[in-house]
Symmetry: C2
Subunit: 449 residues, 2 copies
C-alpha cells in the first residue's frame, strides 16, 4: 500500500490553487483530467471545496463526472443543480449510467429527465430500472449493436462504418433474429481476422456465455473473471436480447463488493462518503457502537456473576482480558476466511465438514500451544501455579470454541439472511468474550476459592 | 452475499462422483468446464481430492488450469508432476502466465522450462521476470501485435487474417517505428469502423495512456478503472514497446488487493490456501496470536497496576471490558476508513487535516452520547452514581483517543513502511485497551478509593 504519487500531485496542486484563489489554474488542472479522474478528485475534497470544483468542470463533462461519482457525493452535488442543468448533464449519458443517476433523483425531477428521452431510450431506461441494482439487468447497458446472421462480414463492416456513434465499450456485436432473439456473439476480433465474404452465422460464437437479467451481479462477475470476458449479452426469459454487460461494469462490481466486505466488518457502508458532515457520520457509526455496547454489557454481566471470586482473587481481574482477547483474535481469523470464502463461492455443503474439522484442529493445536505460553508468562510475571493452570485451561478452551464459532456464526447468519461480513464480528466476539470470561472465572471459582 | 448456486452444483456433483468412485462421471463434469472454472473447483477441494481431479483434467488444459490456480495450490500440484509433464503443461502458456508459474518452480526445473522456449520467447520471459510481480512489467504480457504507421488499414486487416494465432486478449494493435518505439494504439474498433484506405498513422490514438514497466500495478489498475481501459502498452524508459497489459490482469490485481486488505486485517495472507494442512495453517496463524498475546499481557500489566483499587471496588473489574471494547470498536471504524482511503489513494497531505478534525469531532460526539448511555445503564443495572460517572468519563475519553489513534496509527505505520492493513488493528486495540483500562481504573483510584 502506498499513497499514490499521481493522484497526490493532482489533489495537492488543486487544493493549493483553491486555497490561493487561483481559479484559472484550478480550471486548467481540472481540464487536464478525464471525467472519472475529476470524480475521484471531488470525492477526495472536503464538501466546501467540492461545489467550487464542480462549478469549474466543463459542462460537457458534467454527465460523465456525475456518473463516476459515489452515490452519496453525487446526490449532494445534484441537490445544488437546477432542472435545466440536470437535463444538460444527463443528455448524453449512457443509459446504464443514467439509470444509476436517475435512481438518486427526487421523483419529480426524475420524471422530467425521463420525459426528455426519446420513446426508445425511455423504454430501455425503464427496462434497466425495473431490475435490482445488483442484478445483471441492473448493471447492463441496453445499447448494443445487433446484426442479422445471414449477412456477410463485409456488409457488417460497411454498416459499422456508416454508424454515427460507436461506443468505446463495443467489443462485440450481437447476432439476433427478426424478433430480437439472441443467436450469438460476433467479436470485433472475428470481424477483422475472418474472410469478408464469410456469413455472420458461420463466424459468430453461438455458445458464448449469456446472462439472464435476474442473475445476481456477483455471479456475473465471477463468470467474467473465470472466462476472461470483456462483454456479454443479457437476455430475458424468452432469450430476447436486452442489453450487454461490459468489463468496466464488472470491475465496479468487484470493487464495490470488496469495499463492502472490508467496510462492513467495521459497521460501515461502502457508499458512505468519508468527507460526510460530522453529524451524519457520527449518527451512522453510533448504531454500530450501540450494538457493541449491548454485547459489552452482556459480557460485563457474565463477569458480574463472579464478583465474589474476583474479590477474593484479584489477579483474575488482571488476567481476564488476555483470555477474551486471544479468543477474539483466533475466532476472527476463522471468521474472515469463512466470510471471504462464502463471498467468493468457495465454501459450501460438500466441503464444509472438511473445513470445520480443519479449523477445529487448528484451534486445538494453537489452543494448547498458546495455553502453555500463557501458563509460563503468568507464573513468571503475574501469579502462582494454580492461577497459571486455570488461565491456561481457559485459553485452550476459548481458542477451540473460537474456531467453532468462527465457522458456525457466518453460516447461521447467512441462513438467517444477515450479512456475515456485517454482523459476524460482533456476534463472534460476544461469543468469545462470554465463553472466555465464563470459563476463566468459572474455573477460578472452582479451583481458587 | 450468497452461496452461489452455479459453482455449488458443480462442486457438489463432483464431490459426490468422487465419493462414489464414479470416475467417468467426474471426468465428464470436468470436461464441461473451462480451465479457470476447473482451477476454482480444485481450490475448493480438500488436498486429497485435488490430485485425483488434477489427474482427470485434459492434458491440453493443464497449462491454463495451472495458470489460474492460487500460488500455493499450484506449487503443491506441480510438486507431484515430473519434468516431462511440466514441459507439456507449460508449452502453450501465455508468457505472462508462464512467468507466474516459473517463479514457483524449483531452480533446476525452472531452467529446463526456460530452455524449452525459443530464443525470442526466452528473452521476453526473462524481461517479465526481471520486474517485480506487482509492477506493470511484472503483470504485462510481452505478446503484442504491432504494426507500422505508414500502412493502410486494408493492409493491416490482410495481415491480421494471415496470422496463425490471434489471442483472445487482443483488443488493440500497437503502432511502432522500425526500432520498436511505441507511437500509438490502434483499437480493433477503429479498424472495423474506419475507411480501409486510411493510414494507420491517421487513425491510431497517439495520446493513449502508456505505462512504464516500473510503475506499481496498483496505480496501473487505478488508471484502467478511471479511463475504462481494456488494454494498454507497456514501454521501457526509452519508449520502446515491451508488452501490453489487458483488463483480465487488472481484474486480478484488484481482486488480490481486496483479498489482501480483508485478510491481512486478521493477520492472514491472500495466497494462503484455505485447505492447507492443519499444521501449516496453525503455524501461520500462531504468529498473529503471539503478537496479540504480547499486547494482551501488556494490557493486563496495566490492569495489574491497579490491583489494590480492584480489590476495593470489584465492580470496576466487572465493567472494565466495556470501556476497552467501545474504544476498540470506534477506533476500528476510523482505522478501516483510513486504511481503505490510503489504499485507494484518497487520503493525502492536503485533506488529512480536514479528516483528522472530522474524525475527532465524530469521536467527541459519540464519546459524550455513549458516555451518557453507559452512565445510565451502569446506575440502573450495576452500581451507584460514583462508579457511573467514572465509567462515563472513561468511555468519553477512550472514544476520543480511539478516533485520534485510528487516524494516526495507519499514517505512522505507512511512514515506517509497515502495511497498515496488517498491523493497524493490533496496534490500535493495544492503544484503546491500555488507554481504556488506564483512564477507567485511574479515575476509579482517584475518586472511588
Amino acid at each position: 500500500m502506498e499513497l499514490e504519487a499521481n493522484n497526490k500531485t493532482d489533489l495537492s496542486a488543486l487544493s493549493d490553487a483553491l486555497e490561493r484563489g487561483m481559479m484559472q489554474r484550478a480550471t486548467g488542472l481540472i481540464a487536464d483530467l478525464n471525467p472519472a479522474e475529476v470524480a475521484r478528485l471531488i470525492e477526495c475534497l472536503p464538501p466546501a471545496k467540492r461545489s467550487i470544483v464542480w462549478n469549474l468542470v466543463d459542462k460537457d463533462d458534467d454527465g460523465e463526472v456525475l456518473a463516476a461519482l459515489n452515490d452519496e457525493v453525487r446526490t449532494r452535488l445534484m441537490e445544488g443543480m437546477d432542472l435545466a442543468e440536470l437535463l444538460v448533464a444527463t443528455e448524453d449519458m449512457d443509459l446504464d449510467d443514467l439509470a444509476d443517476v436517475v435512481a438518486d433523483l427526487p421523483e419529480s425531477i426524475n420524471q422530467e429527465v425521463v420525459r426528455s428521452l426519446n420513446q426508445r431510450d425511455r423504454e430501455r431506461l425503464e427496462a434497466v430500472l425495473s431490475y435490482p441494482e445488483d442484478s445483471a439487468g441492473g448493471i447492463m447497458n441496453p445499447d448494443t449493436i445487433s446484426v442479422r446472421p445471414n449477412v456477410t462480414l463485409e456488409v457488417v463492416q460497411r454498416y459499422l462504418r456508416a454508424l454515427e456513434t460507436f461506443s468505446d465499450n463495443t467489443y462485440a456485436l450481437f447476432v439476433v433474429d427478426r424478433n430480437d432473439h439472441y443467436l450469438g456473439k460476433l467479436r470485433l476480433a472475428m470481424i477483422v481476422t475472418s474472410d469478408p465474404q464469410a456469413l455472420v452465422r458461420d463466424v459468430m460464437d453461438g455458445s458464448a456465455e449469456t446472462f439472464t437479467a435476474e442473475m445476481p451481479a456477483a455471479e456475473v462477475a465471477r463468470d467474467f473473471q473465470n472466462l476472461d470476458l470483456v462483454s456479454a449479452p443479457v437476455v430475458d426469459e424468452n432469450g430476447r436480447l436486452l442489453g450487454q454487460i461490459t468489463i468496466d461494469d464488472i470491475v465496479d462490481v468487484i470493487q464495490e463488493r470488496a469495499d463492502h466486505d472490508i467496510l462492513s466488518m467495521a459497521g460501515l457502508d461502502e457508499e458512505d462518503d468519508i468527507f460526510a458532515p460530522v453529524v451524519t457520520s457520527a449518527g451512522r457509526r453510533a448504531i454500530w457502537l450501540g450494538v457493541n455496547l449491548a454485547t459489552a454489557f452482556l459480557a460485563a454481566a457474565v463477569v458480574g456473576m463472579f464478583e465474589e471470586t474476583l474479590a477474593q482473587v484479584v489477579t483474575l481481574a488482571v488476567l481476564m482480558p488476555v483470555v477474551a482477547s486471544m479468543g477474539g483474535v483466533a475466532g476472527t481469523q476463522t471468521l474472515t476466511l469463512m466470510v471471504r470464502g462464502m463471498a467468493l463461492g468457495r465454501v459450501e455443503d460438500s466441503n464444509a465438514r472438511w473445513l470445520l474439522t480443519k479449523e477445529v484442529a487448528v484451534g486445538i493445536l494453537n489452543g494448547f500451544a498458546w495455553a502453555a505460553v500463557v501458563v509460563l508468562i503468568t507464573i513468571i510475571f503475574f501469579s502462582g501455579w494454580d492461577v497459571g493452570l486455570v488461565i491456561g485451561a481457559a485459553v485452550a478452551i476459548n481458542l477451540i470454541v473460537a474456531a467453532l464459532a468462527g465457522f458456525i456464526v457466518p453460516l447461521i447468519l447467512h441462513r438467517m439472511n444477515i450479512d456475515p461480513a456485517l454482523a459476524g464480528g460482533v456476534v463472534l466476539t460476544t461469543v468469545t468474550d462470554v465463553v472466555g470470561f465464563m470459563t476463566f472465572l468459572g474455573l477460578g471459582t472452582l479451583f481458587l476459592t
